[in-house]
């Protein structure tokens, strides 16, 4: 490669370094070293010990989570319960905020609705549907009347 080519290559590297940063910073992993059987056994033991400790930590966390969640979560299966699971019964107030397991189409989430407490306002049961329908009928009638009137005018002129 002549000097001109080398200079061009260097310029491309300098200019393209900003945009092609990922390519330049790629790390090539070294080939795995061959280890002795004793070292492999020791590594396996260390890995096993680490897994055991992780499992202990996880189980401890699970216990705390279950203890804390038992008061807040509710199990309200949609299926009909048997006599044995009556112990799972929880107050309705606690279950209202629980995750929903109902997969029916009617069990949709909507915007936050008021919840009952003493001194609550009556829910907003007003709907604009009748007013919209009435406005539609009124506009339709006005439009029909206007169109007919113009047609009648044209006929009279003719």
């Amino acid at each position: 490669m002549n000097s001109l080519g080398r200079a061009a290559l260097a310029a491309m590297l300098i200019v393209g370094a900003g945009t092609a940063r990922a390519q330049i910073t790629t790390v090539v992993a070294p080939p795995p070293k061959k280890t002795e059987p004793a070292q492999q056994a020791a590594a396996q033991q260390r890995e096993q010990a680490a897994q055991d400790s992780v499992a202990r930590v996880t189980m401890t966390g699970m216990k705390e989570w279950v203890d804390s969640a038992s008061g807040a979560l509710a199990i309200r299966p949609d299926t009909v319960p048997t006599t044995a699971d009556t112990a799972l019964s929880t107050p309705r107030a606690a279950t209202s905020a629980s995750p929903q397991s109902d997969s029916s189409a009617t069990a949709r989430r909507s915007e936050p609705a008021p919840e009952f407490r003493s001194g609550t306002r009556a829910p907003d049961t007003a709907t604009a549907v009748p007013a919209i329908g009435l406005a539609g009928v009124a506009l339709l009638l006005m439009g029909v009347a206007l169109t007919r009137r113009e047609r009648a005018r044209v006929r009279v002129r003719r």
Binding site: A107, A113, L140, G143
Partner: protein, 203 residues
């Protein structure tokens, strides 16, 4: 010149008439679509209620457990309210959000189930499910069916309050409150609420 102006005026009025027809038709379609969605949701709630009742009766026949627990997810049918004199017979769904009230009267989350001790609040639109409440009177009989069983109530008080009044109070005794917008026979804003209170009939 005058002829051109007259033609332009004619075209303008004709276009305005067409625009009014199109807008009116669109509003009608929106309104009818909402009504149709409500009817579909209501049918779905009724079908689901029938399914729940059937499962409950089967479970009752199989075990000695009095009543079976039902799901209380939003939109799930949880009760049925009947006012025989007014011909009102509706399936009550859980929640009083827009989607729930489209399907039927909604049970306010946090309030008691009909038949439990405490105040049970059931609300519905005045132009749909609770339109019949325009003729309600003190002494009328209301029947509710829920997982707590069938309860017969008597209307004890009817009142109209402002929409922003804190009118719903929690009580220890079983109380049923049916609420809707007031005035019922009116199209437009609803500044007031109708609250029908009922107490269980004790034999």
């Amino acid at each position: 010149m005058m002829g051109r102006l007259a033609r332009l005026s004619f075209n303008g009025r004709r276009a305005a008439g067409s625009a009014l027809i199109i807008c009116g038709a669109l509003l009608l379609v929106v309104s009818l679509a909402s009504i149709a969605r409500g009817a579909i949701a209501r049918d779905a709630a009724r079908a689901r209620w029938a399914e729940i009742e059937a499962r409950r009766s089967v479970a009752g026949a199989r075990s000695s457990t009095p009543g079976a627990r039902w799901s209380d997810a939003r939109g799930t049918p949880i009760a049925r309210v009947i006012v025989p004199r007014l011909g009102l017979d509706e399936v009550v769904v859980e929640g009083v959000g827009e989607d729930e009230l489209r399907a039927g009267p909604g049970h306010m989350i946090g309030s008691a189930l009909p038949g439990d001790s405490g105040t049970s609040v059931i609300s519905a639109h005045r132009d749909r499910h609770f339109h019949a409440l325009r003729g309600v009177a003190v002494g009328d009989t209301v029947v509710t069916e829920s997982e707590r069983g069938t309860v017969t109530w008597t209307v004890s008080r009817i009142r109209v309050v402002r929409a922003d009044d804190s009118a719903l109070d929690a009580r220890a005794a079983p109380t049923l409150m049916l609420t809707t917008c007031w005035p019922i026979r009116y199209v437009g804003p609803a500044p007031d609420r109708l609250i029908v209170e009922a107490r269980p009939v004790t034999n």
